[in-house]
């Protein structure tokens, strides 16, 4: 059976499989592919443009066909199927048993380059990575433009296949780290990679962490900076951001766009972010500690006014704080879920609940509303959405310790957090480093 017929039989249940015969002079070639991935009319006219009938008199048809793309006549059948699934066009010349895979005019299936969705940039470039691997790698190349930029692409999975690209600057990256990374990837090519959890398994990293092993970024300029600092940047097909490996402490407060400001402002902004991070962590715990365990630390007037505002609140400070924090978390989650037309309603209602209403109903104290507002504002100063999630969790640790031990608990919590961050490692590279990762 010919290759074309065999492939047609394989794809018999796939409605979008197309097989067309094209007559070129006396010769016939068969083209096939998936119409959902390939723009067929455009592709066929492209092939007709490529092969001039006049040339056929001078050249062998086989040579002409092979000149169109990659010769895959010697490939096994499964590999041809994979080519089609990946959106390639197969061109088969039956007479000479030649089969060629070529890049067709594709259907537009990914959005065009747009502004980042999870990060905001006011002093830097605004193009963001998206779901298409080609776009992402192209953007990275455009931003990096270095001789020693190296890219390695791997195909993962046996049934559901996906591509992962690893990029790094040969001169900048630590060779030991690169070797570990590549070995980890190459040893688990059979696993499926559809999301970050899958990929964590591939890399053999521990998944029960409160901070991530990779920093995710939508900004090509951040990815470029990471490459130049000797880190690896990875792309997973259909995942709309770059994974920067390993993640470092500096990712919490440094953004590449800061460098477009004068150095004084860069430093001040970063200090402000660190202050925001500390405030987010400490504020709820400090409230509980000062209200319920160590009121003596406060100035008498202040302690008095706080006590007065809590006079009618029927439960302990920890319950009060937890209650409002959970409402806040719910609000934050709800806004992500809801369509943008309904979102403002929730914000408004939430604003009322978390605002004066709860206070006038004597459910929470005035001060707590202020504390909550401070936390919400300051938690947004951290760089990167994943880091802000870590902060969201860490503040509860401090909150509970503060409820048990007061200010001492707060301090203990900070010590634990410091130790957690100090001991965290990715491929033997400590997390607690500034910009350039070095081995232990």
């Amino acid at each position: 059976m010919s290759i074309a017929a065999e492939l047609q039989r394989h794809f018999v249940h796939d409605n979008d499989f197309i097989l067309r015969q094209i007559h070129l002079g006396n010769e016939v070639i068969a083209v096939m592919g998936l119409k959902t991935l390939i723009d067929f009319p455009q592709t066929i006219s492209m092939i007709r443009d490529l092969i001039q009938v006049d040339d056929l008199a001078d050249h062998d048809m086989r040579d002409v066909v092979v000149g169109l793309g990659d010769d895959c006549s010697s490939h096994v059948f499964e590999k041809l199927v994979t080519e089609i699934q990946l959106g390639m066009l197969l061109v088969v010349h039956e007479n000479s048993e030649t089969c060629v895979s070529l890049i067709p005019v594709p259907q537009t299936l990914s959005r065009s380059i747009s502004a980042p969705l999870t990060e905001n940039s006011i002093s830097g470039s605004n193009s963001a990575f998206n779901e298409s691997m080609e776009t992402n790698v192209g953007l990275l190349r455009k931003y990096t433009n270095a001789d020693d930029l190296q890219l390695k692409t791997y195909m993962f999975g046996s049934t559901v296949k996906n591509r992962v690209t690893v990029s790094y600057l040969k001169g900048a990256i630590d060779p030991a780290f690169l070797q570990t990374l590549i070995e980890a990837i190459e040893s688990r090519l059979h696993l499926e990679v559809n999301n970050l959890q899958d990929f964590t398994k591939v890399l053999g990293l521990s998944s029960f962490n409160l901070i991530t092993h990779y920093h995710t970024t939508e900004m090509p300029q951040s990815a470029m900076r990471a490459l130049r600092n000797g880190r690896a940047v990875l792309f997973i097909e259909r995942v709309p951001f770059a994974l920067v490996l390993p993640s470092l402490f500096a990712d919490l407060y440094m953004s590449e766009d800061d460098n477009n400001l004068t150095p004084i402002y860069t430093v001040l902004l970063r200090l402000l972010r660190l202050f925001g991070i500390l405030t987010t962590l400490i504020a709820p715990g400090l409230y509980v500690a000062l209200v319920s365990v160590n009121p003596d630390v406060l100035r008498f007037e202040l302690a008095h006014s706080i006590a007065k505002s809590r006079l009618d609140v029927p439960y302990p400070a920890i319950v009060e704080t937890l209650l409002l924090l959970i409402v806040l978390e719910l609000l934050m989650e709800a806004i992500i879920r809801l369509p943008s037309s309904i979102g403002p309603t929730v914000t408004m209602v939430g604003g009322i609940v978390l605002g004066q209403a709860a206070v006038s109903a004597k459910l929470v104290s005035n001060l707590l509303i202020i504390v909550l507002a401070v936390i919400t504002i300051s938690s947004a100063t951290v760089v990167g959405i994943q880091n802000s999630q870590s902060l969201r969790v860490f503040k509860y640790l401090l909150l509970f310790l503060a409820a048990a031990f007061g200010v001492l608990g707060l301090m203990s919590g900070l010590v634990v957090l410091c130790s957690y961050h100090a001991g965290f490692k990715t491929f033997n590279l400590p997390y607690l480093q500034s910009t350039k990762p070095k081995g232990d």
Binding site: D296, F405, M411, S412, C418, S419, H421, G423, L432
Partner: protein
Amino acid sequence: MLKNLQVPIVFIITHMGLIFFLYPTDLIASSKETQWVPIFTGFLFQLAIMAVYLKGIRLFGNENIIHVLMKKSRWLAWATLLPVLLHLGIIAVLTVRIYAEIISIIFLSNTPLWILMCLLITIPTYIVMHGGVRGLMRTGLLLSLLFLISILFVLAYAFQNIDPRYALPLLPDDPKDFSFFVHPSYYKCLFAFSGCFLFLGFVPPYVAYKPKTVFIASLLLLPLFLMAVYIPILTLGEETARQLEFPFIFTIDTIEIDWLMFDRVTMFLVLSLLAFIMLFISLVFWLLTNIFRHSIKDLKPKILVPLVSVLTFGVCLFIPDLETTEEFLQWETILLGYVSIVTPLVVLFAGRHHFKQMKREIK
């Protein structure tokens, strides 16, 4: 991050944790007037033993004390390391016990002591288990970034109520001014000077540092040693300061800062110092487990560290009160003296021998 500075920073902050609580009490108790003489004596003693110790360690190259001593002779290793092990064990217990008591006195009078001891043991155990000694050093770096500012702030305000005349007479003119040498309290306060220099010999291969930076760090400590004693004396007068259990902390309690929303700035100071003490305890735990693993039996840290902490906790529970602890501390000074004098000397001689041997091997 700041790899070369990690060891000196940990050296400074662990000492800071030890300086401000018991040390002023003991030093004031041991001397009358011209307190700077005993302080300088203690400080010079620290410099001297550190000089000997670091000289020896430098001769080891990149090896640590245990390996070199074990290679030399097992008996010498045991004679040196066993007292160190014992000393560290006692220090761990006493530090946990004393600081739990201090926490109880200063801010958590209603919390049972054993819970506080539990906290003071659990967190250091976590620090050691999670990151090992490298993680511990990095934790020290983060802690110093977080807490040093508040300590410096409080120390800057500590001069608020001083009266310089209390420092007089400045020069010793009476042989009695040297009577601190025979006072047992003085030897107790030497703990602040020589309590944690030992770790310097055990961290190489794992963490590198330059001996010069450690000397600079110990010079930076001198003003703190002076302040811890002189601030209470200059604020309250010597006789009043002598009556107090923790004179420095009490003096800080008298600071009044109008624009601050907090009434007791002591809290900032004590909390920061306690963070440093937790680091000190974790350092002691690490030293204990490290020595144990390389000289007795190589158990997994996952088993050994919790074992050490549970043992420490158990022993702590048996100590009835602060007086008994102080009595223990007094007895411990003998061991402390032995360890701080003998270990550096042994290290120096072993180092010389090791160095010569290496040279011969290279030839």
